[in-house]
């Protein structure tokens, strides 16, 4: 069974909402979180650790039948060092290497019954990810600037804080197959880690009703 079909099955099993959220609404949000990348060894080799902070924001449209559609952009940017890997040993070459990852993600989801004031939600979607890598003394030919398509699943819970203000926490798993490619100068090819996705835990501040 593919991941996509699992998502579809979960969505079909969701209980119908009893809350009156049948009208159309628009909200905006900003978020901050932490991503742990699937290519653990590769990110750890370059950046020193396989995770890093992400910041973003977006808009969410509330749809009838407790459905929602969101469009979110986020950004991961971190500077490490280029390396050479030999027989499992990583040699830091002290050449600054900056990774910038900018996903644009479209998510469709469902908002469940509230549990007290807490509203759980889940969703899935597709993303377009812009990957940029540049290093000290590099030329345009040395730098990477690519775009990839991936998909993701997410789930979380939202709690209203005020009439126009809510907070949410969600967790997202994403996959960007072959996002890291297999260039000879790619540490990812050494570790056979080609997926640019990961697991992200984020907190959101939502404005709107």
């Amino acid at each position: 069974m593919t991941r996509a079909s699992i998502v579809a099955a979960l969505l079909l099993l969701l209980p119908a909402s009893s809350r009156a959220q049948n009208q159309f609404s628009i909200r905006g949000f900003g978020d901050a979180g932490l991503t742990v990348f699937t290519a653990t060894q590769s990110f750890k080799a370059i950046l020193g650790k396989p995770s890093g902070p992400v910041f973003g924001g977006g808009v969410e449209a509330g749809l009838p039948k407790h459905l929602f559609l969101s469009l979110a952009a986020s950004r991961f940017r971190r500077t490490g060092h280029r390396v050479f890997v030999f027989e499992g040993q990583v040699f830091n070459l002290n050449v600054a290497d900056t990774i910038t990852i900018t996903p644009l993600e479209l998510t469709g989801g469902y908002r469940f019954h509230s549990w007290g004031q807490i509203v759980p939600y889940a969703g899935a979607g597709v993303g377009w990810l812009k990957y940029e890598e540049t290093s000290a003394h590099s030329t345009a030919a040395d730098d990477a600037k690519t775009t990839h398509t991936g998909y993701h699943l997410l789930g979380g819970a939202e709690i209203p804080l005020q009439k126009w203000l809510a907070a949410a926490v969600d967790a997202q798993w994403s996959s960007v197959p072959n996002g890291l490619g297999d260039a000879s100068t790619s540490v990812a090819s050494v570790y056979h880690e080609h997926d640019l996705g990961g697991f992200t835990l984020r907190a959101k501040i939502i404005l709107g009703r």
Partner: protein, 513 residues
């Protein structure tokens, strides 16, 4: 011109050799009367000189190049661990050997045999003994360069390997990296040597020339102006004279040292690969002047092996060996190379210049592909094609600019500062114009050979070590992985893994690119 020495000189040299070869702790034979001399004289690029004849090497001495590439009167033996003195003495007696010495910086012995005995036959007999790990004749090493015509040009070799961009990433390493030049010595300091120069004879195959005794003369030495700097040289050692003054009496080692670390951005002359490193001059091969002046040792396998171990024990992280020979293998050199890499030192070895002489296997280069951290370096010309002389074989791993003057003319060689040979090879124009040599007058000369290619790789290794790749095996892997493939796709016997690409190796790997 083919020069050889007289029997009279032979006697003097042989006696001197016998006195010292027995114990390498004996002092050297040289008397330096002063360290204070005028700075070296820079005569600039020699672009108007007539072509010089090939440099001669003496060939008629019993213990020095008597037409065979090894010494008579002694062999090298390594006993297996645990072989007791009684068993060793029994073997010596059976072989007719008289005594045995254990030199410093060595894990083998020098066994004295009859001068009339064939060292190869005696060594083969020793090697048959179950308690002997290896035994061999004391084969002579020689520099791996083809003598050339001194003319001027620019250093095409650095653009050929994109060094300008590589220096952006690592501007010449630092003084924390020590590169040992295992060679004919280096013009590394000022000195005046007072020495008696005896008469000697030489032949060009047709005429025998008699060079008169010069009596007691003062021979001036100076540090190469474009190489020397503050704290530039570390732990100098001379295994030819058995002292700590490895002065170059040939010019080869000074040229090689220049490619490794010639001072750069100093408004003088030419550039070097890793221009901030410290140089360790380790003299292990002798020149004609060393021979004429009566040096106690020659550049045999055992001397070279000791030089390697000395360099490693005294902190060298990179060893350049622009020397070699054909003939039988040299297991003691293999051991020395393994010793170097297991103690954290990378070794660059010239692959050899004998392609047109039947392309015989070259030692110690042929050990390179079996030892991670030792690289055998072939030579390309300005056209990025293998130079006509560059030896080929399964042991060739990388290529670097070594020059090809057949294809590229005089300026197709590698330009570096070394001696002005008009003042060194004073014997070239015959006895009438023969006179004392001077080693304090310099010029920029074009040399070609895998000797000139290997120091590019040594300098490159120094940059990589400075950059953070501290394992010799990893240095080799980084060089090979990012090399520019030449010739047939993939590794091949002509070009190895291809032409070094310092910038790509220094950049290494990013996350995706």
């Amino acid at each position: 011109m083919f020069l050889s020495k007289s029997a009279g000189v032979l006697t003097v040299v042989t006696l001197a050799l016998g006195a010292v070869a027995a114990q390498d702790t004996a002092p050297g034979f040289r008397a330096f009367i002063s360290d204070v001399t005028l700075p070296g004289i820079d005569n600039g690029v020699r672009d108007a000189d007539a072509p010089r004849p090939p440099r001669p090497y003496p060939t008629d001495l019993t213990s020095r190049s008597s037409g065979v590439p090894y010494l008579r009167g002694s062999i090298i033996v390594k006993f297996r661990p645990g072989t007791g003195p009684v068993a060793q003495q029994a073997m010596l007696a059976r072989a007719g050997a008289s005594k045995m010495d254990a030199p410093s910086y060595a894990d083998f012995n020098i066994v004295t045999i009859d001068d009339n005995a064939d060292p190869e036959v005696t060594a083969a007999a020793f090697a048959q003994q179950p308690d002997v790990e290896y035994a061999q004749a004391r084969y002579r090493m020689h520099p791996m360069f083809v003598p050339n015509d001194p003319l001027y040009s620019q250093q095409w070799n650095y653009p050929a390997i994109d060094m300008e961009h590589a220096w952006d990433l690592n501007p010449g390493a630092t003084s924390s990296i020590v590169v040992a030049v295992i060679d004919s010595g280096v013009a590394y300091r000022n000195a005046v040597l007072r020495r008696s120069v005896p008469a000697w004879r030489a032949s060009n195959g047709v005429t025998v020339f008699s060079f008169p005794a010069l009596g007691v003369i003062d021979i001036p030495f100076a540090a190469a102006p474009d190489l020397a700097g503050v704290d530039r040289f570390v732990a100098p050692r001379d295994f030819i004279w058995n002292d700590t003054d490895p002065l170059d009496l040939d010019g080869h080692g000074t040229h090689v040292a220049g490619t490794i670390g010639q001072l750069t951005n100093n408004n003088m002359g030419v550039a070097g690969m890793a221009f901030n490193v410290r140089i360790m001059p380790v003299k292990v091969v002798d020149s004609l002047w060393d021979d004429v002046l009566g040096s106690p040792f020659e550049g045999t396998d055992d001397v070279v092996a000791r030089g390697v171990r000395y360099a490693v024990d005294n902190g060298a992280k990179v060893l350049n060996m622009s020397i070699g020979r054909s003939g039988p293998p040299a297991p003691l050199l293999q051991d020395a190379l393994i010793y170097a890499t297991t103690h954290g030192a990378f070794v660059s070895v010239a692959a050899g210049n004998d392609f047109e002489q039947g392309n015989p296997t070259q030692w110690p280069a042929a050990y390179a592909n079996s030892i991670q951290g030792v690289v055998a370096v072939g030579s390309i010309g300005r056209d990025r094609q293998r130079a006509y002389y560059s030896s080929t074989g399964s042991y060739v791993e990388l290529m670097a600019p070594g020059g090809n003057q057949r294809a590229g003319g005089t300026t197709g060689g590698i330009l570096q500062q070394t001696f002005d040979f008009n003042f060194v090879e004073t014997y070239v124009n015959g006895p009438a114009r023969y006179g004392p040599p001077r080693f304090d007058i310099f010029a920029y000369q074009f040399f070609q050979g895998t000797s000139m290619a290997a120091p590019h790789v040594s300098g490159f290794a120094a940059l990589l070590m400075q950059q953070g790749i501290t394992s010799p095996a990893a240095v080799e892997a980084a060089m090979e992985q990012f090399s520019t493939d030449l010739g047939p796709a993939g590794r091949d016997d002509q070009y190895g893994y291809g032409l070094i690409n310092p910038r790509a190796s220094l950049r290494g790997m990013g996350l995706a690119k």
